[in-house]
Symmetry: C2
Subunit: 355 residues, 2 copies
């Protein structure tokens, strides 16, 4: 196992296998034929994905001296169940049609309802089924974590971090709903939401989980690394997300071009654009942002404003700066050398990704 | 502590206190002013309730020889968090306006959105916030259970039951969605859904949790009691629920009169009515059941049909029979005498309740 393991197929394959095994283990409970659509949707939503969260967790573990116990891969893989749950619920809340180029969960169940000629509202059935599927994956993420086979004292040490992460995720998503509803937030408020909703549970907390599992306790250097590296990579990760939501290639993101603009998402990128816009530009943003019918011309206009106000360049600059600071933090932590190298790779991968 | 503790204010007060304490313990995480509506909604939805699930769990514990360790009350109270989560999500899925006489969670957040003059769809905000609140309570139920202070070996023995219950609940709710969508189910299919969706996690599993916590293992007599008593009380509980949804007094149920009929719920009561209906009665049921605008006259007509077909009397008869069988099962289990008495009281309370 070399340091390139950080982002290679090997980790992905291990995570895939553990998820598959876990879901199969549930078959005695969820094996009834009527539940098949729930199970196949779960499997499809767990396939693919960048597996960044398991990688941060795994390399936290290795970085604090954890051995090659295969149980860590099971524990790390469980974070994908949490992530899949959050995405499925997120798509219901945003009424998004697509996820990774495929119909979102609620659209999938809506289509099942329509194709089956069932009674009542197909939309309502689709949303209900997606909420339940998300709940199932949320419950399973906790179960898979606890039954990973890691030593009880390791799990006990990390459990408060795990609990904290889950509460923080739900609250962060609520803050995000609020930010969109209140509109016109500042860069700082958008940053706060991004950090709570996504940054922390994408990078900082998975890393902290791995570190605390191996060290059997939270310690000062762990908390410092989680802030100085994890926090910063998390924000840069989210800044990249903002850019992909506006400039991303639909073929790579699996989402329609400019989806965030059509949804009117109040991202850090948008906050910065609005703050720097001329009155004419601001008027165009007000008119176009959040228009569900936004066409290619409107999309091009918004992209132009984001460029012309300097918001695009400023975001790229910030990503670079956060990444630079984060990598510096790695030098000061008593990490194993291979973990340091892997976390360097991961920080770059998380902030320069194209999907 | 006397056997009348089973259904007295003392248990309710203890459960209330533990829930209050737990939510307050989360305040450092969820204390931001913007999150206040989430926290106050959580508190309101946890207030009241019949506390039947904690009572079954508590008396299972005592029945298998558990002592008066106050930690059992915390573990038992955590079941109310799961229940509140399920009700909040259920109301979103059914688009219900009321819960216990107050606005349902999604309507509450919808009203907050409207009163605040926020951007976007108030309905979408309300539903999103309610999904997140339900998630938060779901996550908290697991955390409160694990951190109850019960001995680790007791928790370890009961954890598979706990995991099983949560998966079963989500799958049961999906089966319920399916049953409503497919319509015209038989009594047997409605019974199966009722058992999986509600019966098991209302009675059988809370009881099993308490028994296994105290016994430190699943054993034959525990499983037999959970089926012969728990199963049967669960079904009778749900049959009573069906009757309350049609004939219940709105002042006591906190739901509009005949709410289940207006929603078109395919309950055991409805299945039995349809099976025994004359062609003219069947035609009226088809026309009126599930009509959201169902008026007093239509409601009266449906009630009349339910009576005239004998479905009402048959349901009351079944409740009596299930209760009789369940109480018989108590005699054969090696329970402590006070638990036997309390479980007798609880079975009666669960199946003769008026709300």
């Amino acid at each position: 196992m070399t340091t390139s393991f950080a982002v290679t197929e090997a980790l992905r394959a291990a995570v895939d296998d553990r998820l598959q095994e876990f879901v199969d283990r549930q078959r005695p409970l969820v094996g009834a034929p009527e539940l098949a659509p729930l199970l196949s949707a779960a499997k499809d939503f767990l396939a693919g994905g960048k597996r960044l969260r398991p990688a941060f967790c795994y390399w936290g573990w290795r970085g604090a001296g954890g051995d090659q116990d295969p149980a860590i891969l099971t524990a790390a893989a469980s974070l994908e169940l949490l992530q899949a749950s959050a995405l499925i619920h997120d798509d219901v809340m945003d009424a998004s049609d697509l996820r990774r180029g495929l119909p979102s969960a609620h659209r999938r169940f809506e289509a099942l309802h329509e194709a089956s000629g069932w009674l009542g509202s197909a939309r309502q059935f689709g949303e209900g089924a997606a909420v339940l599927l998300g709940n199932l994956l949320l419950v399973w993420s906790g179960e898979m974590w606890r039954t990973s086979g890691l030593p009880p004292e390791a799990l006990a040490a990390a459990q408060p971090v795990h609990d904290h992460m889950r509460t923080e995720l739900m609250c962060g998503q609520y803050l995000d709903l609020l930010e969109q509803a209140q509109g016109g937030g500042t860069f700082d408020s958008a940053l706060r939401v991004a950090l709570h909703k996504s940054g922390k549970y994408s990078v900082e907390q998975p890393l902290r989980l791995g570190l605390v599992l191996a060290a059997r306790e939270r310690s000062e250097w762990i908390d410092r690394l989680c802030v100085d590296y994890g926090h910063k990579v998390g924000i840069a990760f989210q800044l990249r997300d903002d850019l992909l939501g506006v400039f991303g290639d639909p073929v790579e993101t699996g989402k329609p071009a400019g989806d965030d603009l059509r949804e009117g998402k109040r991202t850090m990128l948008v906050a910065r654009t609005v703050a720097a816009a001329s009155p004419a530009q601001a008027e165009d943003v007000r008119r176009l942002l959040g228009d569900p019918e936004l066409d290619d011309e409107g999309l091009a206009r918004l992209r132009q404003i984001i460029e012309d106000t300097g918001a695009l360049a400023a975001s790229e600059e910030m990503i670079k700066q956060y990444l630079y600071d984060a990598l510096g933090a790695l030098d000061h932590a008593p990490l194993t050398p291979d973990a340091r190298e892997a976390l360097t790779e991961l920080a770059v991968a998380a902030t320069s990704r194209r999907s």
